[in-house]
Symmetry: D3
Subunit: 248 residues, 6 copies
């Protein structure tokens, strides 16, 4: 039994509020337990310089935490004058993960910028961000589809993410902050609706892990992610119906 | 009649959600119409270097907008590597305003840091921030009072703020974004519960204004602020009872 | 009686040296007592990116203090790698104030950059800067008028600024540094030659102020500013004759 | 057959030059084919602020590429004024990986800083860096052991790293730059001498991958890493004899 | 004959205004023709970290140009967020040059910071700065001598600097801006009152120079510098009497 | 006799490895004793903004030291976020020196960027860099000559550099680190193959120097440089044959 009463392979309570932001092309407030992230998708009719003239679009992501999202206050990165390595790592991960389920050719020369702002952090902020950013992006792409005639629907599959870890030889799904700080092995997994891996990032800084432990972690993550994708389908409703349609 | 149907001297709908953040010593989600700001108060048992050893406390504030708080997306100040002049101006204003109703001696050698993060912006973000930050600070000071024995209660008065402006020769209270961008004169006023001015900042970049117009603006602001302070008293309830007690 | 022997409503000795700089299109060394500021106006035949293609000009300002302009030496902002909030606030104020008396359409697509460099500071550096920058700008616009055929003269009115404050319940005009650091209320006022307000910035960080005090401050400022504008007319001579001509 | 004639599971030529730097406590020039990295270990008798007073040591790493290490010249990060996200990600990875085989308590309150400078890059710079940095660290810890009496030898196991990828449905070991840019799946694996995983970072930005592909990649990586560790044992000779001694 | 009518070995008009700044421990406004520099000396009762605890003092210098000191306006280094290489080079030169005539032991653990701010630039700003900074430093050291009992007078010799160059095969002393931009060889020389060299910096970017040309330049510089030192002695009067006393 | 057994006018062992880098248009590993620098020349088919449209090329240089190139580790400039004054000064010197022997018109609108990265530092890193960068540039210009038809060969002369200094009244050539830190006078000289001076930078921070000492230093430098240029001719072989051909 875990401190919050969950089974080892049980997700925290997931809550999704659609379109909390009146300006963004797509937005979502997503909660994994006490971790709360606002994800907005902003469509810009231009691409970064390195993508110009290729007839393809781009997906980018930025990630930030409010200074008091955490137990003790953190200095703002704007006040420090630069991003931490952790922030850069996370926002690169989010962007890469989302691009894996977007057909950039079909999107056309435009950028969708996903902003993930952590309002409150209780572990798993990057996996919550990826899972929420997918929804915000899906809303924006659907909205665009009313004015843009995509040849092929640009989103090729669903995508979600969850963390798994090992504490005292036990595999646990969806760690909260307290569990995360005790875990000897910590892994973040991103998967698609069709059950393929997009990112597998496992770290055993405190203690290296065996192949058998790795297998256990991947199995738990897979189950958790499919459950998250079911929720995504649910909240998107008809907006999700064309996702990956051309893939099958 | 204004575009949103309000009278010239009518505030927008004000909504205050107490303690939305589980970690901060005090927090509030405050809404002036579609302008939404999360204000958190963080108590730190130290003071900035320039205040050390004086036996006095300090109140500081930081202000930021989420990149898509606005109609079109703004670049993050953390990504730019520096704060804009506008941000600096606003956070200096918030800090100064709040310090005017705090007895720093009574607070003791500790800092209360007020973070005002604009989730959605529709005009008046600085006045909403000041009005909300006061509540977050009041919650934190009240919480501290359970463990710290203040000789004198550190908050000496209530404090709120509102914007006023002139559009087509008419004085308007609490401008929304559309009104703000049309106003020829724009003024932010901060006042105390006892009806004194803390800050008066009026700007006629588009057109200079007469003494008579100034008088009209100040009158409208005063009325609006007293109405905001009534709401603050209401949500704070018993937590507000000691504010300014020693003053009277 | 004040420490320097002035009456409560008396300005410090104002000295204006015309064109101390041999390169700038307009320049002035202005002194309010021991506060000395070099103001230069540089005309550039381009406008900032956000103004391009509108057929309008722009007025911008930068402000800085020499490191030993003050009693103890301040670190250079260039060495710190960023501007302080105070500097940003002041240069935004100067630019905004000057733009209020310029018809940007009449100016045409060019920028006048006003640099205000404080050589020695004894209180009132921002008001001295505004008052001096107006003169430097007027010299530059007049010089330009010899080669550019303005349809309408671009400067629409005179403009000057002064500080006022309350010390021990008394209203004082044009505070020096010593007075400034003792003042409970501190206000900077910018007005036009036709007696309208452009900026009113009053702060009661140390002690909130009443409506009656505010009225006293505004009255004193008005008188002081009209006296400063008389000096501007005087030093500009014929160069000032077309200012605001079309306004009357 | 690969473009450079290797078998799918064959490492590039590995060359290790011991102690090329006359000042560092440990140094190595390591080459994986045309990828060349200088790794130096610098011992400092202090720890970072967040580790102070715990009686424990710290291992840190920094990574950089010479501007012309690559086919076309890259701007220096010192000239840009900040590190790229890629650099931050890599140096965080190197530090984390090395800490996993160091008993920080046994090391005592000192820091070993590992600098990995890429002289020439042809794919796999992060895996080459980790494999080389381990050797430089081992030399430095051995040198320290002559003057410091460790209760327990601080290095608990060998450690090396290699990349694996999938190109045209085939698993390949130790990708060079050309292969890396064609790979649909790209994975970096760090393992210990005792065959446990320390880091598993797999990315399928171009195309998600199946569990079966993941298994194939892990198997190839394991084999490659054990072969690299054999080379490390070889060049370290007696200096490697105490590594992990207490573990078995 | 030169464009301004000077002989080839004639200095421009040198003007020195003593103590233009009411706060600094020493200050001077120095003019070499149209080049005008304000030099202030600020005494701080501390030394930089790398000098602590050695019982010795330090001399440091900073150099800056007002944005419109030059024919066309330059961006402020504070706005750019960093110093240019040129500025760094010049301020390092000024500091090094002045330290060569100061006995840091005799100065005691304090720093004299010399700020050289160029108000107007017409060539030779670094040589004007060194010559003026020496005077400002001498005033400050003399002032200090009234409260501090130096065992030995800290200033060991006079010091001044001048530029020389070659234009159309002719050696010229003290180049103005127009000459400087035409010169094929450009040299700055710093010498002491006793006729020794402190800095010799000659550059032939446009055309390398012969040993004979070098000899001619050094001769002209020597003569010019001794003439500048005579002026320094003159304006310092009795304040200069102890300089280098112990040396002879 | 010097600590390393050299005569006063003897260079350290010079070793030159041609083309150690497989990507750069020209590269060299140059060693003056234990000082080791990798110099690469990168040709870019564009010029900096200030050179555009003049039909001329540009030569630029950057200089950096690996953090453990020195006895104790230095912080990376990329981590500090800015270049030190020393680095800026050195890279400006290298660029200026090389430009003095290049006919920018003949080079055409392209830039050659010279990167000098110090792998190990034992004094004289800037002189070693200049001497090596010349060779890397010569290789690149020769390589370019196979595809570009220069009217005139762009390199007009050979160029090398050496340091000289005074220790205990003795002139010494090519100082190592230990000698450099003891020297009272320190001078870097850059000369051409035809025996002309390009840069003379002498500093007597510790003790001013006489004209006679200066003459001795210049003589020693001249001899050392001609010996370095002989080595350059040697390693360049036929690639050096067109250098300065048009000059004679």
């Amino acid at each position: 039994m875990r401190t919050d009463g969950r089974q080892w392979n049980q997700l925290r309570q997931v809550a999704i509020t659609m379109n909390p932001n009146k300006y963004a092309e797509g937005s979502v407030l997503i909660e994994f337990g006490d971790t709360k992230v606002i994800c907005t998708a902003s469509v810009e009719e231009r691409v970064p310089p390195f993508m110009k003239g290729q007839g393809k679009g781009w997906i980018n992501a930025e990630y930030s935490m409010l200074p008091r999202a955490t137990q003790s206050r953190n200095q703002r990165e704007s006040a420090r004058g630069k991003l931490t390595g952790r922030t850069m790592e996370i926002q690169r991960l989010i962007g890469r993960a989302l691009r894996s389920v977007v057909d950039l050719q079909a999107l056309g020369e435009r950028t969708i910028m996903l902003d993930c702002d952590v309002i409150q952090a209780d572990g798993g902020t990057r996996t919550t961000s990826i899972t929420g950013a997918f929804i915000a992006m899906a809303i924006a792409v659907n909205k665009l589809s009313k004015t843009v005639d995509y040849g092929k629907y640009p989103i090729t599959d669903f995508l979600a993410s969850v963390s798994v870890g090992v504490i005292q030889e036990k595999t646990l799904l969806d760690l909260n902050y307290e569990e995360d700080s005790k875990a000897k092995v910590d892994m973040n997994v991103v998967m698609t609706g069709s059950g393929k891996f997009v990112e597998v990032q496992g770290t055993g800084e405190e203690a290296p892990f065996t192949r058998q432990e790795l297998d256990g972690l991947l199995g738990a993550a897979e189950e958790g992610i499919q459950s998250l994708i079911a929720k995504q389908r649910d909240v998107l409703g008809p907006m999700g119906s064309r996702i990956g349609a051309s893939r099958i």
